[in-house]
C-alpha cells in the first residue's frame, strides 16, 4: 500500500528520504515536510514507516484492490531488538504480533580486517573467509572430482 505522511506529525527530518529504496519519499518544497512523490512505485516495504522518529508515516492500501478502513501499524525498537505489529481489519477486528529483530548489539559485527591475515596458501585454496571452521563439519570443504561432471541428458 502506498505511504502517506501526516502534515501535523512530520517535522521534515528526512529519515524517510534517506532510507527509501525506491527514492520516492521527498521533501515538499512549500511545506518542508516529506511526502510520497510516486505512489505507483511504492513496494509498501515500510522502510520509511519504520524509520520515522515521529510516527508520521502510514500506509493506505493500494486503491485498485484494497478497500478502505484497514490499518497495519508498526513499531520498530532497535534497543529492545523487537518489532511490533498491529493489524486492523476493515470490519474492526484486530491482531497483534511481536518478533525479535536482532540478537546482538547494533554495531557489534567485527570488520574482516580485524581477523588474522590469511596465508598465501589459503588465498589459492577454494576456501572462503572463516572456512573450513564456520562450516561446522569435519573433512573440510566438499568438492567434486572433475570427472563427475558429464555431458548427457539425465
Amino acid at each position: 500500500m502506498p505511504t502517506f505522511v501526516y502534515m501535523t506529525r512530520c517535522d521534515g527530518c528526512g529519515h524517510c528520504v534517506d532510507i527509501c529504496p525506491s527514492d520516492i519519499m521527498h521533501i515538499d518544497k512549500t511545506y518542508r515536510r516529506a511526502y510520497n512523490i510516486e505512489p505507483n512505485m511504492c513496494w509498501e516495504c515500510y522502510s520509511c514507516v519504520k524509520a520515522c522518529p515521529q510516527n508520521a508515516i502510514d500506509c493506505r492500501g493500494y486503491a485498485d484492490f484494497a478497500p478502505l478502513g484497514h490499518s497495519v501499524r508498526v513499531l520498530r525498537e532497535e534497543e529492545k531488538g523487537t518489532i511490533s505489529w498491529k493489524i486492523k481489519f476493515r470490519d474492526g477486528r484486530d491482531k497483534n504480533f511481536v518478533s525479535p529483530i536482532r540478537t546482538t548489539q547494533w554495531g557489534s559485527i567485527p570488520s574482516p580486517a580485524q581477523l588474522e591475515v590469511p596465508s598465501e596458501k589459503a588465498m589459492k585454496s577454494q576456501e572462503l573467509a572463516h572456512e573450513p571452521d564456520a562450516l561446522n563439519i569435519s573433512g573440510g570443504l566438499p568438492a567434486l572430482r572433475p570427472d563427475q561432471l558429464k555431458q548427457e541428458v539425465v
Binding site: 500500500m1 502506498p2 534517506d18 529504496p21 525506491s22 527514492d23 512523490i37 505512489p39 505507483n40 513496494w43 509498501e44 516495504c45 515500510y46 522502510s47 492500501g61 493500494y62 484492490f65 484494497a66 478497500p67 484497514h70 490499518s71 497495519v72 508498526v74 520498530r76 493489524i87 486492523k88 481489519f89 470490519d91 504480533f97 525479535p100 529483530i101 536482532r102 546482538t104 548489539q105 559485527i109 570488520s111 580486517a113 581477523l115 590469511p118 588465498m123 589459492k124 577454494q126 572462503l128 573467509a129 572463516h130 572456512e131 564456520a134 562450516l135 563439519i137 570443504l141 566438499p142 568438492a143 567434486l144 563427475q148 561432471l149 558429464k150 555431458q151 548427457e152 541428458v153 539425465v154
Partner: protein, 614 residues
Amino acid sequence: MGLFSRRKTIHVDSDVLVVGGGMAGCGATYESRYWGRDLKIICVEKANIERSGAVAQGLYAINCYMGMQWDENRPEDHVRYARNDLMGLVREDLGYDIARHVDSTVHKFEEWGLPIMRDPETGRYQREGKWQIMIHGESFKPIVAEAARKAATEVYNRIMVTHLLMDESKPNRVGGAVGFNVRTGDFYVFRAKVVIVCAGGASHIYKPRAVGEGMGRTWYAPWSSASAYALPILAGAKMTQMENRIVLTRFKDGYGPVGAYFLHLKTYTENAYGEEYESKWYDHTKELVGDYIDRHPVPTCLRNHAFLEEMKAGRGPIRMVTKEAFQDPHKETVGWENFLGMTIGQAVVWASQNIDPKHINPELTTSEPYVMGSHATCSGAWASGPSDYAPDEYQWGYNRMMTVEGLFGAGDTIGGSAHKFSSGSFTEGRIAAKAAVNYINDLRNEQPKVSERQYEDLKQEIFKPLETYQVGRNEIVAGTVSPSYLLPISGLQRLEKIMDEYVGGISSHYTTNEPLLTRGLELLGMLREDLNYLGAEDLHQLQRAWELRHRLLASESVTHHTMFRTETRWPGYYYRADHPKLDDQDWHCFTLSRYDRKSSEWEMEKAPVYHIVD
C-alpha cells in the same frame, strides 16, 4: 554540452568496485576485505545499503541452507534439486560451488545477530522445508549491511550506475563504471581494477497485474531494474538463459509468499469447487514434457502449469486451504508473521478485504513474469566456474568472471545458478570477491586505462534527458504530453505492454510464437529509438530514465533468447505455441547471447550442459 557544462565530475579510483549493495554486493564487499587487506574497496548503491535490494523489506526464511553439520543435505543433493526444478538445465558447477559454501555464510549471519529459529526438540535450525530455514528476518538487510560497511573503504549510497567503463589498454577488459548521484546530480567516474556487478534482476519489464496506484505491488521489488543484465550486456558480456523468466504462484493481489504455507503450515490448494486439480493435468503435462512431470518435487513451472490450465478451464479461483491449519494458534502466528516479515502488503490486502485465513481460504494467482538469477530461475551472465572441478568449457579464468576480463558478478547477475536466494547470493558475492582479489594480485601494478573521452561521452548521454525535458517543456502549456519528449513512466508502460502482448505476459497466458516475437522486436526497436527522447524533469526522473534503459536492454535480450529456443522448456513460465513440447534432443543446452554495442546486433549460440551423473 551547454546547459549542464558546469556539472561536477567526481573521480574515485579503487581496486575493487562492487556495483549494487544488496545481498550479493554485501557479500562481495565483506569478502574482498578479508582477502584484500590493503585494497581500496568501494561499494556503490542506487539507494541506501541499509535497506536496498530484494531483502530491503526483510525475509522470514533463508531458502538455501544445506545443514551439513547435521547431515541434513549434501551440496550435490542441492544441485540435483535445482536441476530438477529448472527442467534439467542449470550450471551444476556453479550451483555446487554455492551449496558447499552457503552453510558458513548462514552461520556467520547468526553470529552477527540474525535471529534464526530453532527446532525445540532437536535444537537444530527450524526447517520450513528441505532447504529452507525459518528466521525473524525483519533486520536481515541492516545486519548484513553493517558487515559490508565495516569492510568497505567507502560505501557510496544514492548513486545510480549507468554504464561500465572499458580499459583502453587491453581489448575486452573492464575499467570501471560511471553513474550519477541522485541527490546532487554529480557525475561519478569510478576507475577500478575489477568490477563485481551485484545489481538487481528485473521487475516491471512485463505489465503487472496491479494497475494504477497498485502498479508498484509487483512480486519482485520495483527497484530491481535489470541493471544486473544491462551493465554486462552493454560491456559485451555473454548472457545465458535469459528466456528463463519466472512466474510465481502467490496470494492474490499482495503476492504474499506461499513457501511457508505449503511446507511448514501444510496448507494445500483447491479449485473453486473444492477439488484437488493438479493430478487432473498429469497426462496432459506428460504429453508436453515427458517424464519431467514424474520428478520429485514437481518442478515449480509444472505446478504453475496445472494452476493455469485449471483457471483456463473456468474453475477458478484457486484457493489455499488455510482454515484447518490456522486453527492452531502457533501456525496462525507463523502465517501472519511470514507476511509481516517480508510482504507486508499481503497483510494489508487481507485486513482491507476482511480475509482472516482462519475463516476464509484466500485466493491465489500467478504473477506477471520476472527476470532474475537467484530464485527458481537462472537468467544472467555466463560466468567462469570454480577451478577445482568445472569442465573446460565452463572455465576461462577466475571464478565468476564473465566473458569480459576483470568483470565479475554475483546474485541476480550470474546465470545458470538457480535457487541461491538470499544466502546463496551473499555466498556467490563472497566467491566472486575472492577470485577478484586473486585477479588483482596477479595483475600486479597494471592499471586500466580510461580516457577522458570515454567518460565525457557517457556523461553527455547520461544527463541528456534533463536537457531534453527543459528544452521541450517550454513548447507546451502544461501537462505530461509533449511532441518532443517521452516521460520515463510512459516509456515504461509501453515496454510492459510490448512484453506482455508479444513476449508471453499475463494477457496471453504467457504464450508467444515466432511471429509475435518478431513483431515484438520491431516494436522494442522503435521504443529504443524513442528512448533517445526521454525527458527527465529532475534527478529522480533521471534515475527512472536510466532504469528504463536498463529494462529495455534486458527485455530485448529476453526476446532474442525466447526466439532462439524453439521449444517449450518450462510450461507454466512461458509457452512457445509454435513449439509446444519440451525437446531434449535439440535443446538440452544453454542459450547464450552476445550484444554488439557498435552494430546493435545480437548473436546467439548454444552451450553444453554438464551433469553430475552418479
